[in-house]
């Protein structure tokens, strides 16, 4: 790992820009019916901040820093758990159209 090399952060910027385009492309096709569950789903996915929180909370860092990591970990885990559960709860409610009806 050589974070000081310009090469490294340029690749991150590339990843960011390309991921944004993929995100826009995918999200634009999401059914408007599902915008509320979409938001709770992306909410859970962006709780991927949990990765950073685990690193800060679990590494051998000074106590004060780890406490911040632990609080961040609680916050992200809350988002993961409640985000996925409520998304599933909402999606279960969307019943398929009855027979003979056009979608």
């Amino acid at each position: 790992m050589h974070p000081e090399q310009p090469f490294d952060y340029w690749s991150m910027v590339f990843v960011f820009v390309l991921a944004t385009f993929i995100g826009i492309g995918v999200i634009r096709r999401v059914s408007r019916l599902l915008h509320t569950p979409l938001m709770s789903l992306t909410n859970a996915i962006s709780a991927i901040a949990v990765v950073g929180a685990i690193i800060v909370a679990g590494s051998d860092y000074p106590g004060g820093i780890r406490i911040m990591g632990i609080v961040a970990l609680v916050a992200s885990m809350t988002n993961i758990v409640s985000g996925f559960l409520i998304t599933d709860r909402m999606l279960k409610m969307f019943k398929t159209p009855r027979k003979g009806e056009r979608e």
Partner: protein
């Protein structure tokens, strides 16, 4: 776990996240989306945890248990409270990003100052500003939505508000730039909390002037900020999984914000800095106008004889928890061979898609939930438009009156139906403080009362009438 194995797992998690969002394009595949998301998240957590430098397992386990303890009750809130829950989880996301950024800065300041490169420092400053302003901003939004007493519901505006808000943000940015230029200066760790404090304050002040009708846009914008703060964290930690997942969330927030803004014919800046409250005084015109009230019996008769009934739900339906009664009415009318559709305005309710979820909860098949743009061409053939707790989204003033604050906003053309019934709790104007022209048309009849009660009475009336056949 070796570095490349961890990266491989992260890559798989990224792919799962993209598929997860992809499957949201159809209600039939949508539940798969949750499984993919959970799988991706579980992989990411385990791979991170299994790295050798993560050694304090006890605290991690405790924190995870705490996350479940808070998260499970939060996922069981009534669906009318979903906007608040969503705002609250944006707040948690912002807090997590802000804290990790702060922790990393002080860590590197204390040991390994060579890590504080300009690029990283820029990312840290972006992460804490975005993270902490999302934190307080979302808490405020959640408080407003939950109608907590000491948070004003109506937009609060004062002279020089925008100048002050932008000034605060600019000040935070200037200090941030000073930190980026001198991350290891002896004064830097003392100035760092000032940036945090300014971001926290800015978040509060940003939401104070925003009213309930703008909440769908604001929640979407906060969603984008929460995603971007995760991206910034990815830049700080050299982690491409964070960057991709954050970018997916950020672009989702961006697209939803654009859809919401278009549905209100407003721009981002107008929503954030052009509080609706400022036009409130000018808008109260129609003092002399009178409402025509209709009885439950009369309304039931008209509904019964209709071919096509379009129900236009709004936030009032959510407040009154009337969705289940609406469903009973839907059943009664369907039994009589009446076609019933729901016209869904994109900003009806307090968050994107709010009405769809409430009606789906009440077991209404989603095929009958029709988007505004698709139902409007059919409105002239509609016999009865039944407005349940919607107001501004059916106000024809948006088409005609250039001085109205909602001018240009696309609306559900309820006024083109042959008859309009509007359920309204009181005779006061709606959230934007504007009289609704629809209510004073010749063909409009008002049903005053709580939406749930009026709906219940209609259902009862139809049920009784059926018994007499």
């Amino acid at each position: 776990m070796t570095v490349s194995l961890v990266q491989l797992v992260y890559l798989v998690a990224t792919v799962l996240f993209v598929f997860s969002l992809h499957w949201m394009n159809d209600p039939r595949t949508a539940r798969r989306a949750v499984f993919a998301g959970v799988a991706g998240m579980a992989l990411a957590v385990l791979a991170t945890w299994a790295q050798p430098f993560v050694e304090h397992h006890g605290w991690i386990i405790l924190a995870i248990i705490a996350g479940f303890a808070i998260g499970i009750p939060l996922s069981r809130v009534p669906l009318t409270a979903v906007p608040q829950r969503t705002a609250l989880s944006h707040a948690f996301g912002g807090l997590a990003a802000g804290l990790v950024g702060t922790a990393k800065y002080y860590l590197w300041y204390g040991e390994g100052q060579e890590n504080l490169t300009t690029f990283r420092m820029t990312a840290i400053v972006a992460e804490i500003i975005l993270g902490f302003l999302t934190f307080t901003g979302s808490l405020m939004a959640a408080g407003k939505l939950q109608e907590i007493r000491w948070i004003p519901q109506r937009p609060v505006t004062y002279r020089g508000q925008n100048v002050m808000n932008i000034g605060l943000l600019a000040l935070a940015a200037v200090i941030g730039i000073a930190l980026i230029a001198n991350p290891t200066a002896p004064w830097a760790p003392k100035l760092f909390p000032v940036v945090i404090a300014l971001a926290l304050l800015f978040g509060v002040l940003l939401i104070i002037p925003i009213g309930g009708a703008d909440m769908p846009t604001v929640i979407s914008i906060l969603n984008a900020y929460a995603g971007l703060s995760a991206v910034a964290m990815g830049f700080v930690l050299d982690n491409k999984l964070l960057i991709t997942a954050g970018a997916l969330d950020g672009s989702s927030g961006l697209i939803l914000s654009i859809i919401m803004c278009r549905a209100m014919n407003r721009s981002f800046t107008n929503v954030l800095f052009g509080a609706f409250g400022q036009v409130q005084q000018a808008a109260r015109l129609g003092e002399g106008k009178v409402y025509k009230a209709e009885t439950i019996e009369g309304a039931a008769q008209v509904l019964e004889q209709a071919n096509l009934v379009v129900i236009v739900p709004g936030y009032g339906m959510a407040v009154a928890q009337a969705q289940h009664k609406v469903r009973e009415l839907y059943d009664q009318l369907k039994k009589r061979g009446v076609t019933v559709k729901f016209a869904i305005h994109p900003v009806a309710g307090r968050m994107p898609g709010h009405m769809n979820v409430l009606l789906a909860e009440a077991d209404i098949p989603y095929g009958d939930l029709v988007e505004m743009s698709e139902i409007n061409p059919d409105m002239p053939q509609c016999d009865v438009a039944l407005v349940v707790g919607a107001n501004d989204v059916v106000n024809p003033v948006a088409r005609t009156d250039t001085t109205s604050p909602i001018y240009g906003m696309p609306i559900v053309d309820a006024d083109k139906a042959r008859t309009v019934f509007a359920i309204k709790r009181s005779k006061n104007p709606g959230f934007a403080g504007i009289d609704n022209e629809l209510y004073f048309l010749d063909k409009t009849w008002m049903l005053f009362g709580d939406a749930k009660k009026v709906m219940g009475d209609l259902v009862k009336q139809l049920g009784d009438a059926k018994g007499m056949h």
